[in-house]
């Protein structure tokens, strides 16, 4: 019983955790990343297509990582090299992903809606959970113990101080955005080749934005961000299970679904505790 709840929560939050850690990498380095949704779509799509072609989910995941890195680099090129507005470029990437994917699908499979279905041996049954633990540990360690983590934080708080220490904050941001793209893309891949069997139109369905909200609720710290994702997952699972439970009082399940967003708003407005965004975020 408890195990089945725990597994449900883990599965539902897996894509959120990957993507929100991606968002965290980017925002801690001082760049707003609203493109998470688009990057997740790219990851979901690439993973499904390559897994279909090669019959291996591992190769699908690798391809998603490459595609995510390219996506992250492209975003970095827009906002760091061309100094484009971060919100607008992020939105543009989201729209681009939504528009490009049906086009490529049409060329590949003659349909704009979905890829063919993956067989059971062409998709993951549990590997993403292992990867999840590994990535979480990696990110915790990065920010806790390494110089690189410190530089990323400084790039988001006091880029001038970093520059005066002889380290280019731009280079740090290029790196952080690439990682961000990779993580978001893995999150997307976990939706298409782990939680379901193939890509279907806009299947990310707002998970990218939910990840952003989780990151804000987690106040831009790795541990709390992961907890926030798990909390989002918990709310979703409660909502799913309550639907089919025979309760004596009729409780609208939608009420439970709005709790995460309500909490995010409360944290953002600073009613409870202080919202501590990186100082140089968006600058």
């Amino acid at each position: 019983m408890i195990l089945s709840w725990a597994m449900s929560i883990l599965r539902v939050s897996t894509p959120l955790i990957f993507a929100s850690l991606g968002g965290l990498m980017s925002e801690r380095s001082g760049v707003i990343n609203i493109a998470l949704e688009g990057l997740m779509l790219i990851g979901a799509f690439t993973a499904a297509v390559v897994a279909l072609m090669t019959h291996s989910p591992y190769l699908g995941l690798m391809a998603a990582i490459v595609a995510g890195a390219l996506g992250g680099l492209f975003y970095a090129f827009c906002v760091l090299k061309l100094k484009a507005n971060q919100i607008i470029s992020g939105t543009a990437i989201n729209l681009l992903a939504m528009g490009m994917i049906p086009l490529i699908l049409k060329i590949l499979y003659g349909s704009t809606g979905a890829t063919p279905n993956l067989e059971m041996n062409e998709r993951f049954l549990s590997f993403p959970l292992v990867l999840l633990v590994f990535i979480c540990a990696l990110i915790f360690a990065l920010f806790k113990y390494t110089h690189l983590g410190l530089w990323i934080s400084f790039s988001g708080e006091h880029p001038d101080a970093l520059e005066s220490a002889g380290i280019s904050s731009d280079k740090i941001r290029w790196f952080a955005l690439t990682c961000s793209g990779i993580l978001a893309s893995i999150g997307g891949a976990s939706v298409s080749i782990y939680l379901s069997s193939g890509y279907s139109r806009n299947m990310i369905g707002g998970r990218g934005f939910m990840s952003l909200a989780a990151m804000i609720l987690g106040r831009w710290r790795p541990k709390t961000t992961v907890l926030a994702c798990l909390f989002f997952g918990l709310c979703d699972v409660i909502q799913m299970r309550l639907q089919s439970a025979n309760l004596s009082i009729a409780l609208p399940t939608q009420l439970i679904q709005i709790i995460p967003y309500l909490m995010t708003l409360i944290v953002l407005t600073g009613l409870v505790g202080k919202s501590i965004a990186p100082k140089a975020l968006g600058k």
Binding site: L125, L195, M240, S244
Partner: protein
């Protein structure tokens, strides 16, 4: 040298051949009367949902082949775009514009009075108008039948229902299904889940899979999925748990052979083909058409993938229930008339 010559001869031959082919095609086209132009607007699930929209698309392409009509289809990417799409078809003077799904209702209501010379067909909802035909299905009857079949195949006395978007239409499926299951065993438990409350629920296989897994793990044997493209999540779950699922709208028995008990057929393909045929021969009739068990607009699918579930006894029972519903001996509760 010789090779080059050969190639050039071959090329010129091919060109002549293809131009002949084109000329021939053009000639046959102009000989027949001008084909009508049909605009088909599919719902969010898209033409490859293997279910509701796939059926509509199948009907329209069949008409294209049989009647030589000109078909253009669009998939509604978001609900706000539907009216614009419909308007643009009408403005280009398409003869017939077909809206697939209740999400098109408002658009038909608004656009149809403005273009009286264009014919409109709407599936799953009713809109009055001299140039509108509303094509409705008696989903509750078919759901009752598959509900009965689900109950016959449930060892744990627990069956499940997975709806897509939480809307009256899907409640109609649910109500019929529950009644059907309870007709076999009044004490049977029916577990009900909906994927979501907005139209993204038709395309969220990840969540549908999670809901199905939860149901199967709680002891449910059979789940009836009425969730558009989200049904793919149900089929993934049934593959992993080796329980049973029931498909919807199109025949989905082939998706997971041996694990899909049956599919409740809603012959949107037949309805679309019929309305195109009628318009093509100038016999378009405004008003409401209802498809049910009697005219096989609603049915359950039996084919080589699920025949093992249909023993002589089961087939006889199912046929009897079907005839009783048609004859009015069994009154299936209808959510629309509640």
């Amino acid at each position: 040298m010789k090779n080059k010559f050969l190639i050039s001869v071959l090329w010129s031959f091919l060109f002549t051949l293809s131009s002949f082919a084109f000329a021939l095609q053009a000639a046959t086209n102009s000989a027949a009367k001008v084909p009508i132009r049909v605009g088909l607007i599919l719902d969010k699930g898209g033409k490859d949902d293997k279910s509701f929209n796939s059926a509509a698309y199948l009907g329209a392409t069949l008409a294209e082949k049989e009647l030589g009509i000109q078909l253009k289809y669009i998939e509604a990417t978001d609900d706000a775009a539907i009216e614009t799409m419909m308007r643009s078809f009408a403005q280009k003077k398409y003869d017939l514009v077909i809206g697939i799904g209740f999400a098109m209702t408002d658009a038909v209501k608004k656009v149809s009075p403005l273009f009286p010379e264009v014919k409109f067909a709407l599936i799953d909802a009713e809109v009055p108008g001299a140039n509108v035909t509303s094509l409705l299905f008696e989903e509750h009857q078919g759901s009752y039948l598959v509900g009965a079949l689900a109950a016959m195949n449930s060892k744990n006395k627990k069956v499940g229902f997975l709806g897509g978007m939480d809307v009256p239409l899907i409640h109609r499926f649910q109500m019929g299904y529950e009644a059907g299951a309870k007709s076999i065993d009044p004490k049977i438990a029916v577990i009900i889940n909906y994927v979501g409350v907005d139209s993204s629920a038709w395309n969220n296989p990840a969540k549908a899979k999670e809901l199905s897994l939860t149901q199967y793990r709680s002891g449910v044997d059979v789940i009836f999925g009425a969730a558009g493209a989200s049904n793919n999540g149900l089929f993934d779950a049934v593959e992993e748990t080796k329980k049973l699922a029931i498909g919807v709208d199109s025949n989905q028995n082939w998706v997971k052979p041996g694990l899909v008990l049956t599919s409740m057929l809603k012959r949107v393909d037949v309805a679309v083909l019929e309305v195109i045929k009628e318009t093509n021969s100038g016999k378009f009739k405004a008003g409401t058409v209802r498809f049910g068990l009697k005219d096989k607009g609603i049915d359950y699918a039996v084919d080589q993938y699920n025949s093992k579930f249909f023993t002589a006894e089961t087939s006889k029972k199912m046929e009897k229930i079907k005839q009783d519903i048609i004859a009015g001996k069994i009154k299936v509760p209808d959510y629309y008339k509640k």
